[in-house]
């Protein structure tokens, strides 16, 4: 027997803690990176934990964040610039110097800029520096720039901005401390990861109710108090039925609708006329409402609760008009939206719809909150209280990734607004700089000229057909056809269409495809197997249809194998970055926040941060803004840009420590700014005065603060547009009005999709494919980045397709069997397992676990290549040909959002494996991870 040993209960933890921002997913949590000398005496990551002071995660950290160590030391890290030496797709490369690599890029890009800048397509994937990469593309002069929003959640962003000047996630969050009823739509475990988990924990602690609407009951849905296992693509109909029930019971907040929304605004009634359905305006263009007391039309800001909400009126010019609310009520009180009428289609019982509507009303009105907190609205009225309707909502890709997602997201916002629960105590709360109505956003630009920058940003919010980016013949000006009749409100672009369009030469061919951080040869593309063929397709001359592909990634991904020139990026712990309010903010409802990354470790390889490389490349190309008058480089690197760049006078990438270090929001550039962020834990927060915490869309104190911060230059009085006039303008064009009409083949699509009131249309249901198939984001993986991670891949390495019990039985399947899953587009052969916790018609699997053999430095027989798979092969970026010679995109017709979750399939038992399709193998330019890992050994002996 041995005596218990004496333990050292206070062992050394680390030599130093460096605080930076996580990049293991898009949440951007604050992290404390503990460094300790490794075997060679150099600093090594001992431990990563959440930063307790950080506004996003307040100390907690998810599995991905903690596994950042394994990302940092991944064998898949690229080591030096690479030039392709074998055929595309094989992964055969030669290491070259940075000078050679940059010269090669200049040799390709310089002539493009000199002759025809649109022949460069620059798309940046899961970029967290879009305000910078977009500005680079603008200075280059190509119209072809966007990030990954088009295949992610543009429907959510566009519907939110067009409806209420903000959307879910980065634009706002539930009032976790006060909400009583929380509705979660279409979220497995994804964005935003830690804040939602923290919030759910808080709701549980407070005893608030959580209702989760999702075809699959994993993750957050598993702990919800109630699960609504809805049929995919029918959420909008479900929500409109809830609205039907709320209207029937009179459960709407009339005071709120009159004050903050365009419910009272007058809509011209002139059937067949060019103004039918437009908002009636005065000579200055201000929308009009009907003053009930004075019985006359007046500008909306002049009347609050005294406006009419129904009744036809005659305007001064003799035209008839109705308050938009009357049109809304007439629409949704129709029996088409009665619970009985929608129940079968939604897969939700009518009684359940009625009860949930009653619970919504019970929470919003029965549990009304009255905060004794005086405030003044933008009409100048002083309020003694803040009245709260404690119902909040969050929604993500299960809503947005459908071809009806834009209108479904609009329907969800309408539900929130009718209950009076947007930016009130207990409701959904905006995060600064939101709310920002459409008029505070730019319109899109495509005016490309040789050797000239674009006159404005690529992406924006069209106000009507006049803002479409099409030429005189109606042809798209962008390679992805964003802002054309194919996708008029494609406010994030359509990255998923770029390769397909470029190879088809539709609308034109390109010379160079320049990608950053987007695995377009794999999980980020629909139709993966054929996209791989497109990337290797050659023309009659034997040259590749896309002649040059430049790619920047930190790891040996599938996309690396398909590029000609690789610019190796650093890991997130080796780089400067800025999480900017000009970009995708990390603010909280009561504070604006931004943050940096900085090199907490020096790279041990010949790699460079991509943004610094772009700065170098921009200067070598002589782009305006990147060179001084004498032609010298304007910025040393990205850190220098972060501190010194001004987007408008006094407004730069970071809001904190401006000028002499004491100025916030506005102020001269401060060369020491990045150091000040480091000293402050890597982030900065500016708190909203308490009087401005709620009703930001109409709150004088908030708006004055926002102006002082530089979000905008004067208070932005606006209404939530539950009736959306921009949509009506597109509809009018489809009805034959105005100088720009859609082409005939899109006329009916536009007329139906651009409904000024939230509407629901069924997603395509091809005959013979009775089942749905969707992916769910696992909490421990982010896209394809996780599989190289030695720890995370042990959590999700081999994943089957989960099949509902009745479908398993009907197909004669048992756990562990293999099955063919067949869509109108293709077929895959995969292992299956039975589930009961899903809608009875929905098959599902975890997202992006499957890998191409040889990628990510994994062993050739890794389960990610042998047993895990992509649904992407079943989903085409185009609908099946209709015989009209046209290419019909598998997207939302409003925004171009990729309709991943519209997928319909059938399933048949297979005799066995292996996986189908076989996408071949790629060589690894970095070797393969081998052997045992004993991380931390030097500190344990």
């Amino acid at each position: 027997m041995t005596a218990p040993p004496k333990l050292d209960l206070s062992p050394k933890v680390s030599d130093e803690i460096r605080k930076t921002t996580c990049y293991m997913c898009a949440c951007r949590c604050g992290i404390d990176v503990h460094l300790r000398a490794g075997e060679d005496g150099r600093p090594k990551v001992r431990f990563i934990e959440g930063n307790r002071d950080h506004p996003v995660n307040r100390g907690v950290l998810c599995a991905k964040g903690s596994a950042g160590i394994m990302q940092q030391y991944s064998p898949a890290r690229l080591r030096a610039p690479l030039r392709r030496v074998g055929p595309r797709g094989c992964g055969e490369f030669q290491e070259i110097s940075w000078d050679e690599a940059l010269q090669q890029a200049v040799d390709w890009l310089g002539p493009i800029r000199d002759k025809d800048p649109k022949r460069l397509a620059f798309f940046t994937g899961r970029d967290q520096s879009q305000s910078f990469t977009g500005w680079w593309a603008q200075q280059f002069g190509t119209p072809n720039y966007a990030a990954h929003g088009g295949f992610c959640s543009v429907n959510m962003a566009a519907a939110g901005i067009y409806t209420m000047g903000g959307a879910f996630w980065e634009f706002g969050s539930p009032d976790w401390e006060r909400t009583e009823l929380f509705l979660l739509f279409g979220v497995a475990e994804d964005h935003d990861s830690n804040p939602i988990k923290m919030g759910l924990g808080r709701l549980k602690e407070r005893g608030a109710k959580v209702i989760a609407v999702n075809p699959v009951r994993t993750g957050y849905n598993a702990v919800a108090d109630e699960w609504v296992g809805i049929t995919p693509g029918t959420d909008g109909l479900f929500v409109l039925s809830l609205i039907h029930e709320l209207l029937r019971g009179g459960h709407v907040d009339l005071d709120y609708l009159l004050r903050y929304t365009n419910a009272p605004q007058l809509v011209v009634q002139n059937p067949g006329g060019a103004d039918h359905g437009l908002i009636a305006r005065d000579a200055d263009g201000t929308p009009l409402v009907w003053d009930r007391a004075e019985r006359r039309a007046r500008p909306w800001q002049e009347v609050s609760t005294g406006a009419a909400l129904h009744g036809e009126v005659t305007l001064a010019d003799g035209r008839k008009a109705l308050p938009s609310f009357e049109i809304l009520v007439s629409r949704y009180m129709s029996n088409d939206y009665a619970p009985e009428a929608v129940a079968a289609r939604c897969g939700v019982e009518a009684d359940t719809i009625r009860r949930i509507a009653a619970e919504l009303a019970g929470a919003a009105f029965g549990k009304e909150i009255r905060l004794s907190r005086p405030w003044t609205d933008l009409r100048g009225e002083r309020h003694q209280e803040m009245v709260g309707r404690p119902v909040s909502v969050h929604a993500m890709r299960g809503i947005s990734a459908h071809s009806n997602g834009f209108q479904t997201a609009r329907a969800i916002h309408l539900l929130q607004i009718l209950l009076g629960s947007v930016d009130c105590p207990g409701g959904f709360r905006f995060k600064p700089p939101y709310p920002k109505p459409v008029r505070a956003h730019p319109t899109p630009h495509t005016e490309a000229h040789p050797r000239a920058p674009l006159p404005g940003p690529h992406l924006g919010y069209p106000r009507g057909p006049e803002d479409l980016r099409i030429d005189a013949e109606g042809r798209p000006e962008r390679i992805d056809k964003a802002f054309s009749w194919d996708a008029p409100l494609a406010v994030h672009g359509l990255m998923h269409m770029v390769i397909s369009n470029a190879v088809a030469g539709d609308p034109y061919e390109i010379d160079t495809l320049f990608l950053y951080m987007a695995n377009m040869a794999w999980n980020s593309s629909m139709n993966t197997a054929q996209v791989m063929e497109m990337l290797t397709a050659t023309g009659d001359d034997g040259e590749y249809r896309i002649p040059h592909i430049i790619y920047s990634d930190a790891y040996s991904s599938e996309m690396v194998a398909y590029a000609d020139l690789i610019l190796p990026d650093t890991t997130y712990l080796e780089r400067h970055d800025c999480i900017s309010l000009l970009d995708r903010p990390i603010s909280e409802p009561e504070a604006a926040a931004d943050a940096i990354r900085w090199p907490v470790l020096e790279p041990d390889r010949d790699v460079r941060g991509f943004q610094s490389v772009l700065i170098d490349l921009g200067a070598r190309l002589g782009l305006p803004g990147f060179v001084n008058d004498d032609g010298s480089h304007r910025y040393k690197d990205y850190a220098d840009y972060i501190a010194r760049h001004e987007r408008r006078p006094g407004i730069g990438p970071l809001a904190g420590f401006r000028g002499d270090g004491s100025q916030t929001g506005r102020g001269a550039p401060n060369p020491g700014q990045v150091d000040r962020y480091r000293e402050n834990g890597g982030f900065f927060t500016a708190h909203i005065p308490e009087e401005g915490h709620y009703f930001k869309m109409a709150n004088r104190a908030y708006q004055d603060w926002a102006v002082s911060m530089g979000f905008f230059d004067e208070p932005l009085a606006f209404t939530f547009d539950i009736y959306q006039e921009t949509l009506r303008k597109f509809q009018l064009a489809a009805e034959g009005h105005g100088p720009r009409e859609p082409p005939d083949h899109l006329r009916e699509t536009i007329r139906a999709a651009f409904d000024p009131l939230p509407s629901w249309a069924p997603v395509p249901a091809p005959e013979g494919y009775p089942l749905h198939a969707v992916t769910q984001r696992p909490a421990a993986m982010y896209h394809s980045w996780g599989s190289q991670n030695a720890w995370l891949r042990q959590i999700h390495g081999a994943v089957p397709l989960y099949v509902p019990e009745p479908v398993m039985q009907a197909a004669g399947l048992a756990d562990g069997d293999w099955a063919w899953v067949i869509s109108p587009h293709g077929r895959i052969r995969v292992p299956v397992a039975m589930t009961r916790a899903a809608s009875p018609t929905t098959l599902w699997t975890w997202n992006a676990i499957g890998k191409r053999r040889g990628a990510w430095a994994l062993g050739l027989n890794a389960p990610e290549a042998d047993k895990s798979f992509l649904l992407n092969h079943l989903i085409s970026e185009l609908h099946p040909p209709k015989g009209d010679g046209l290419r019909w995109s598998n997207s939302d017709p409003v925004t171009g959002q990729a309709a991943w979750y519209d997928l319909r399939v059938r399933i048949e038992k297979a005799d066995g494996g292996p996986l189908h399709p076989d996408t071949g193998a790629q060589e690894s330019p970095v070797g393969r991870g081998r052997g045992h890992l004993t991380f931390g050994r030097e500190w344990t002996e």
Binding site: M1, L7, L61, G250, E359, A790, A857, G929, F935
Partner: protein
Amino acid sequence: MTALPGKTDRTLGLVIDLDTCVGCHACVVSCKEWNTGGYGAPLADADAWGAEPVGAFLNRVHTFEVTPDSGAAMNVHFPKSCLHCADAPCVTVCPTGASYKRAEDGIVLVNETACIGCGLCAWACPYGAREQDPVEKVMKKCTLCVDRIYNDNIPEQDRIPACVRTCPAGARHFGDLSDPGSEVSRLVAERGGFDLMPEQGTSPVNKYLPPRAREPESIDLAALCDTDLAEPTGFFAWLDRALERL
């Protein structure tokens, strides 16, 4: 073969809330990263990038699909690590005394220098909470972060197990279960915290809080409504009355 202390001064352990755990594995990985560079040999990962990666983890989350007698099927996420049992069979079975329970706080530990890797303790543990390290072949198990919770080099508020420190949903709680006034004891009392497999007679220290009842509320819709405004015309009459009241 190895004796248990008759009584411990304190009874440190975890209380895990199955109502709140979303199964995100944050605790699993935080535990791994802390402990691989901490107490004892590193937590090895055999064939880490290959066909069959097998690593040692001190804490894992298992997910079970459960179909109740009434209502829809659901997933229950079940985090599992050593429960630091009062009557720990893994200790009494140990032939060398490598497994032991600390008298001062009840933490069950393995003295790796005395561990011969015989695996008897893993066999004796009814919970499957011990894993043999695939490289060192010594027995690995939850230490309750004994090298954190008393560590003077760590800020006081962080002297808690890594899994508790990181849990985003707040589903993990740490404290002294022998102190009836502690936060963890209060949670156990209020929420009906239970022992895992009590019939095994191990008297586990860790407790689990059960999922709360998830029956839909019964709401009397009629009581909430002014009236059933079945037609738009009826609605607009109500609207006029309501607007008068604003």
